[in-house]
Symmetry: C2
């Protein structure tokens, strides 16, 4: 027996005023006398009335909702990002519609749902957007901000850290520390993030006259990264350093080297990660990594999206935030 919810009409009748008066009581800037407000609020309390957001959205044509698309929630970096984003939008009075997608693809169904849902903005975390959908968003003037993923289309805003220079730093640092057999453990082939980190890394090595010793793909997943590590270390000569495209995989590398290969980090193999997740700081790993300015990225993305939703900013922007290397103990100099 679904009971009909209390409507403003019922409150109005009980309070002896018009429905408009009730509505005005719940709008911030409406003109209403203290006396009427009292009566209405009393009636509302008595009936347990709450304005119906859906009806309100329909008439005001604003849902005050943003859709968040995220993959890889098992990666602590994105779990944290989501948490931050949630706070940012909640505090601005927006609701978050959450959509999880699998790493690789088929965002079609999801994007279609988002478009129907009347979300006013879309935040993409580590998830890509197909060009047709990006175009459709632009056509409907629904702002989109992508964090840490790129789309080959200029219509959407993008916030990311400086993946290229992060990778470059990793390459020059390892080279400078005397490593000669550096391996790269990439994430998804489809991720622009990984591609940029890789390119920076390779360029840095090339600048030193070095080449990448080996490359594998761990799909940003722990278990895949472990498998990839085994492939990287099938037979000597082993790599003397591994640069993993994120911390999650870097930790997998360390665990695998220690437990299965009997190799020490950093004595036998140096490891560098990317992200600076909380785990990187744990004493067991002391992972040297490249910090993405999580707070700033989320703040920038939220701010951008809010601006665009408020139509203060019309043109999409691409913001690349600087990355900072965090030197801990997972790299050791070679002689």
């Amino acid at each position: 027996m679904k009971r009909r919810s209390v409507t403003s009409h019922e409150v109005a009748r009980l309070a002896g005023v018009s429905q408009s008066a009730v509505s005005r009581c719940f709008s911030p800037h409406a003109s209403i006398s203290a006396e009427t407000r009292e009566k209405v609020l009393a009636a509302a309390r008595q009936l347990g009335y709450r304005p119906n957001t859906i009806a309100r959205s329909l008439i005001t044509r604003s849902s005050r909702t943003v859709a968040v698309v995220v993959s890889q929630l098992d990666n602590p970096f994105y779990a944290l990002t989501l948490a931050r984003a949630s706070r940012a939008f909640q505090s601005e009075g927006y609701h978050l519609l959450l959509f999880l997608v699998s790493d690789d693809g088929d965002t079609t169904g999801v994007m279609s749902e988002i478009l129907q849902s009347q979300a006013e903005g879309i935040l993409m975390l580590a998830a890509s957007l197909t060009t047709p959908f990006a175009q459709e968003c632009v056509a409907r003037s629904i702002p989109v901000v992508m964090i840490n993923r790129t789309v080959d289309f200029t219509g959407v805003s993008q916030v990311s850290s400086d993946n290229y220079h992060g990778g470059y730093w990793a390459g020059s640092y390892l080279a400078g520390q005397g490593h000669r057999r550096m391996a790269f453990l990439n994430g998804l082939a489809s991720s622009s993030t990984g591609a940029h980190r890789r390119q920076g890394f390779l360029d840095a090595l090339a600048a030193q006259g070095l080449e990448c010793w080996a490359e594998e793909n761990g799909e940003y997943r722990f278990d895949k990264a472990r498998e990839a590590t085994r492939r990287l270390f099938v037979q000597p000569p082993y790599p003397d350093a591994v640069f993993a495209a994120n911390d999650h995989m870097a930790v997998a590398v360390i665990e695998t080297l220690r437990a299965e290969l009997g190799l020490r980090v950093p004595e036998d193999v140096s490891v560098i990660g990317f992200d600076d997740t909380p785990i990187a700081a744990w004493p067991s790993y002391r992972l040297t990594t490249i910090r993405q300015p999580l707070e700033d990225m989320v703040a920038a993305a939220a701010e951008l999206l809010l601006e665009q939703m408020r139509e203060e900013r019309l043109s999409p922007v691409q913001r690349i935030l600087p990355v900072v290397p965090i030197l801990r103990g997972s790299v050791q100099q070679r002689y």
Copy 2:
């Protein structure tokens, strides 16, 4: 320049049919001829029409939305739970409205927003509900399912694992392995989960004529757990075992013991966790823990909520799923 979205009227005009016909094209069981459908779909495609979910919700009085309230997204267990839950509801055509709350409280504002949002169901992950709100949900017949948290009110459904027996197992196991100075590291004081684990643990010890050697609180947070560990180990005689209320804290204990106290796990101190998060299986920890049947819990919660939303089930239920001890290497027998 927010452009008005395409409406069913416009599609109707272009297709030369009535608005009703358009509507019927997008409703599954409506009666519509193939010919008309063709025309309408063509027009819709041409205009980029998508039914407006908000208007649809208003008229059908069903939002097909469930609100998920979660705290502790930084705990991988809950990140995973959220991911699973998302899949479960997405596949049933429901949208998820995400609300993050801080561990301790002030769910008031959030609950109030949920009630206004016309969500058809509420899923609470590791977050508590105040009794007045529980009552209000019941009064509005909005089903609520709580995972891993309890409210002192019979109106809402609850799914949890058998925390008491999990704790009991930890107690008897440690006692049986010859430990004599067991410490308990609790989570939030306000969490029923922790309370049950604690009670089971204490009862098991009591059954062996033992008492808990020391107790601390780590609020389910990594850094708090580290601090708590230091307090637990200020001076000898040290505890010879620690039972932590979840894996997240158990790992913090291990890290702290190894890095700061120079103690080995399990040789000097045994550690037991709770949850069986992926990290527990990492070679560095090999954490003996108590597995919560994550999949089953989410499945049960989703199923329960769906049943109640479909009004197939009216009375709330309380479901306690069995827990299974996972023996790894973080406990060693004492003599």
